[in-house]
Symmetry: C2
Subunit: 224 residues, 2 copies
DNA sequence: CTTGACATAGAACGAGTGTTCGTATTATAA
DNA sequence: TTATAATACGAACACTCGTTCTATGTCAAG
């Protein structure tokens, strides 16, 4: 009988999950412990599945050594690598990720910023976040400095009160503002409470590109 | 012969270092591997030292299982836990850590913010950093919002151009400003380039409390 | 109905591995 | 000088552990 299905079976997935779970103990399981956890009574069947997982590139083993099994790319519980797509400045259309792009398993070759998961909103997986680096003083009304890193989620719509990145094609301008829908127009409210909002007629083109999740500022001395 | 010395010997330290080093392989070493790495030829001597490290609380072992040795508090290579001492607001003296305090091995009971090491300046160990949470709109001249988290290093002096936290007792005010020494006075320059500096006579009391290293802003919707 | 691929199982084996025991050396305290 | 504790060592042993081998079951394709 030829099984046409490829990929992970339930048994494979249970083994992967158990290896993940065991990371908190500080040492990997033995072949027998994997078998006990997953419901396989024979060490040769465990070895059979580990061989397949190795061939799929999901785990690595050092032959003959005890407990020498590890996930090829351990799930990083504590950090999310958010790709930095490039700069953001007021006078330029802003960069957004390709639709559907995710950045699981980002390598070191892409510019990225590490964000502790504990800083993200509860439930946020972080796989669709992206970052832009602010260039120039044009975002000071958003309380954002030259050099700050803005972390966003892609979006084309916003709810009232959300801080969003907006491209205004008629003004050739990218801006970060709190967004409000009013009767006949949109109100774009600066984060700086001493500054006045921009009112945009609903007939004027306005493209929401992303929602701001977080801003990170590395503070350096200013030149003297 | 009674050795009065307590604490780690060179052999202990080498074992700790080797356990750290082995973390990148994905599975701990065996007793024999530890012996080979550290220059101990007998498995019973390795066990002798592991017993002492266990008694000192530096490692944990699960008896009888292979490779069941782990550091009690693994060095976290990726994250620094920075304690949040409390709020910072303009009208209040600011909180600073007790002199000499470090926060190695912070537990979960203290409020803290996780910062990726890759975001810190090169060479920064992070053990003396502390964080304060901004309360109110009084820091907007520093481009810092209500709710932002300001991460600092304790300091009582500053170089020109550094962003520092300053307590002005005569004005009953904490402020965050770029600091410059001038001929007869100090210039405290807001981060917002459209705002004017404060000039402080050198006869007026001015206390530098810390240097700002980083600012983190979690962006939430504003109330509607 | 037969065949072959896939999956499952247990037993045996040898190597890996941790513990225990007996012995030796060194150095300090009594 | 002697006694004791700390440190060091190797051998032996028992257990853990991974691999290999053989056997069996299931099921789709031919």
């Amino acid at each position: 009988m030829v099984r046409t299905r490829r990929g992970l079976t339930e048994r494979h997935q249970k083994i992967i999950d158990y290896l993940n779970e065991r990371m908190s103990t500080g040492y990997p399981p033995s072949i027998r412990e994997i078998g006990e956890a997953v419901g396989i009574t024979s060490t040769s069947v465990v070895t059979y599945y580990l061989k397949q997982l190795t061939e799929m590139g999901l785990i690595e083993r050092d032959a003959k050594f005890s407990r020498a099994v590890r996930l090829t790319v351990p799930i990083n519980r504590e950090l999310v690598k958010v790709p930095i797509l490039g700069p953001i400045a007021a006078g330029e259309p802003m960069l957004v990720p390709a639709p559907g792009a995710t950045y699981l398993g980002i390598g070191n070759e892409m510019d990225a910023v590490d964000v502790a998961r504990s800083l993200l909103p509860s439930g946020e997986k972080g796989t669709d976040l992206f970052a832009l680096k602010v260039k120039g003083d044009s975002m000071i009304d958003a309380m954002i400095n030259d050099g700050d890193i803005v972390i966003m989620k892609p979006a084309i719509k916003a709810n009232n009160g959300e801080l969003v990145a907006i491209w205004l094609p008629n003004r050739d301008e990218t801006t970060l503002k709190y967004f409000f829908k009013e009767k006949n127009q949109y109100r774009l409210q600066p984060a700086n409470p001493t500054m006045n909002p921009i009112m945009i007629e609903k007939t004027e083109p306005l493209e929401i590109k992303g929602k701001v999740v977080m801003v990170i500022r590395n503070v350096e001395s200013v030149a003297v």
